[in-house]
């Protein structure tokens, strides 16, 4: 008798044993199916049940989501999580001080890769995650690390190959533009940086209180604007060998571009603008273009805050004379090297950065996740407040992303010293002179940072 015949036979003549077995299977089915849906059938998530871990997060919508997922994580693993969100600047100070003390009070820490990456490596803050990834008893088979975008992983990976964070959030610099203004003036989205200057000139209408372009002018905050232009020359501010390239002809060209865009086409007072002033200006329909991180998009599509809902275009940073790149920023999550609960912390990282939670981040408009599958998932766009162009911009920027800040230890000093120089150019100072002066001032700081 064939198997099919046997099964048919069972169906036609039900026995008590079969009934009890079927009922048991029916009761267990939802759990089994759920478990399989999460891909956890072969993985023991309860291995560290009863452990309590501490996580230090940065205050932002992504951390809100992480905290919202904590209950689910505890139900799955039995691990209790105590997390706190601290404003960005204070969180960085706390991380620096606690890691330096040698006894940080947290097991998991969020790290700004564009600021603290080298610092974390030199200070030996975080544990290498590669052994965890390679350990099948610690890493769920469905974690699929290969799903993280190569650019994001490369951004998080240290020079010696160590991977001390999971790049859970990445931010690309791009250009927000007001489609209505473009249409009214018959301007198309620029295909090169030269065309960007021409477009800004055409759209600039001070008499109507509309600026052709707006970007950060405030010292420190203004650095990514300059580096975005410099990437158009195919060059970063610090070479792969650690040499400053900040007074090269390419850097000066980018400085001139920064000066021109902010002096000729930006609204008055841009010298003191950080991202929030730029955002307000653009959101109120007072600027035609805004260069900044795509992570600031959410309020632009909020009818209670924005006057340009539905009119926002999301454009990839146009190519420059020698290169086409989008300045890249991002956050990673790592495990404190001195933690005594590293394995439990690794489960937390895995869960918080799984496919479902990364997709949830994108759907909530909380930022761009490190995983490729989130972007490729059609569910991301369903019900999203963002248009198709937003997702296309994210995908296209991801392909050409390159570090927006130098990967050095004294990033803050770099931003301060060069930020002041760039700001001075907005008051009329010569770009080459300011960059040369800043390079001379910063060189000893950089050299000293790698000693000891």
């Amino acid at each position: 008798m064939s198997d099919f015949a046997k099964r048919s036979d069972f169906a036609s003549r039900p026995s008590r044993r079969l009934f009890v077995g079927g009922a048991a299977a029916g009761v267990a089915a939802p759990f089994v199916l759920r478990s399989e849906a999460l891909g956890q059938s072969a993985f023991n998530w309860k291995k560290f049940a009863g452990t309590k871990i501490d996580a230090m997060l940065v205050k932002n919508p992504r951390s809100d989501l992480l905290q919202a997922h904590e209950k689910e994580f505890t139900a799955l693993t039995g691990i209790e999580v105590s997390s706190e969100q601290i404003p960005e600047q204070q969180q960085r100070q706390k991380a620096m001080i606690e890691f330096t003390s040698g006894k940080p009070t947290f097991d998991v820490c969020m790290v700004a890769l564009h600021v603290q990456k080298r610092l974390a490596a030199k200070g030996k803050w975080l544990d290498d995650l590669r052994p965890y990834l390679a350990d099948a008893s610690l890493t769920s088979p469905d974690f699929d690390f290969a799903d993280f975008a190569a650019g994001a992983v490369g951004f998080g990976r240290q020079a010696d190959g160590t991977l001390d964070t999971l790049p859970h959030f990445i931010d690309f610099w791009m250009i927000y533009y007001n489609k209505e203004m473009f249409e009214q003036k018959g301007v198309t989205y620029p295909k090169t940086m030269d065309e960007l200057i021409v477009a800004a000139g055409k759209l600039n209408d001070p008499a109507k209180g509309v600026a052709g372009f707006v970007s950060r002018g405030l010292k420190n905050a203004n650095i990514p604007v300059w580096t975005s232009w410099m990437l158009g020359q195919g060059m970063e501010t610090v070479s792969a060998t650690g040499q400053l390239q900040t007074d090269t002809p390419e850097a000066i060209w980018a400085g001139e571009m920064y000066k021109r865009m902010n002096r000729e086409f930006a609204p008055p007072g841009t010298v003191g603008f950080n991202w929030n002033e730029c955002q307000t200006t653009f959101m109120q329909g007072r600027a035609a273009m805004w260069l900044d991180g795509i992570g600031f998009a959410t309020p632009l599509e909020d009818p209670t805050k924005s006057r340009i809902v539905g009119k926002v275009g999301y454009g990839v940073t146009p190519p420059g004379p020698k290169g086409h790149h989008s300045a890249l920023f991002g956050d990673g999550m790592g495990i404190s090297r001195t933690s005594t609960k590293k394995q439990a912390a690794w489960l937390y990282l895995q869960f918080m950065c799984n496919k479902g939670n990364q997709l949830a981040m994108l759907k909530a408009g909380a930022g761009s996740p490190g995983r490729s599958s989130a972007l490729a998932n059609p569910a991301a766009q369903e019900g999203s407040r963002f248009n198709k162009e937003y997702f296309e911009c994210l995908a296209a920027s991801g392909k050409i992303a390159r570090a927006g800040l130098p990967q050095i230890i004294p990033v803050t000093e770099f931003r301060d010293v060069f930020g002041v120089g760039l700001t001075n150019t907005l008051s009329g100072a010569d770009v080459a002179t300011e960059l040369k002066k800043a390079t001379e001032a910063f060189k000893p700081v950089l050299e000293k940072s790698e000693q000891g």
Binding site: T280, Q284, R286
Partner: protein, 305 residues
Amino acid sequence: MTTLDLVEPVRASTPVEQKLAPRRYFLFALPALVLIAGVIILPWLFTLVMSVMEFKVGGAVEFIGFQNFIKLATDARFIESIGRTFWFTALAVFFPILLGTWAAVIFHREFPWRGVLRTVFIMPMMATPVAVALVWTMMFHPQLGVLNYLLSLIGLPPFAWVYDPNTVIFTLMLVEVWHWTPLVMLIVLGGMAALPTDPYDSATIDGATNWQMFRFITLPLILPYIMVAVVIRTIDALKVFDTIFVITQGGPGTASETLNIFLYLQAFQFFNLGYASAVVVVFFVIIVALSLLLLSLRQKLKWNT
């Protein structure tokens, strides 16, 4: 027998007892001494020690003598920040004193709703500096701020406020004036309430004008109170951080970078604790010198001198 007879005469202490008294009382002062040593003296000594060290968080710590102070003497940004601090302080003391004294003279007079108006006048002082700074930041916005809107209503062009290196210090001073003029008013008003009325009666009989009475009677008499306000305002203005940091972060460029902002950057952004400690030592010397100068001035302006 009177009550006085019942009181036992106080026995004069012997010379030996007088000599021992300070030692006995020392026990009572000990907790306060320990506290002061713990929270003031020890941190100060530690700061002094750090100021002669190369001390960077996460880096090596080594003794470098007076190198930090020598570096400070040649650090253009530090020297400029000192000049800016004094300029800002001068403005943020002078205008509140002038306006606060004027307001005190007005509020000293009897007029309807005086109590209510006084309360309204001192309200800015009650607000938290950071909250105040955030509100002013919004008002200063060159395109969307209410201040430029008000200027446009009277036909004036927009002003750059804190978004121009040439006007940023004056604008920040405006915030300080708005915030702290009420304090000066309160101090001076308190002084005026204690003034004798006789000189005014005599002056009125002699036919003195209001201005003459203010210039030759009120002002000399309230000068000690004004000096108290000057001392408090000077110390406050010298150490202003929150308002400036929230509104401009020391910008545009370094146009509003006072000593405190410079110090914050060195200590908590760049983590150069040794260098920052040297800045603290210099700042401390400046504050002590200024305070002594102002206190000696105050002594000279006392009524009985």
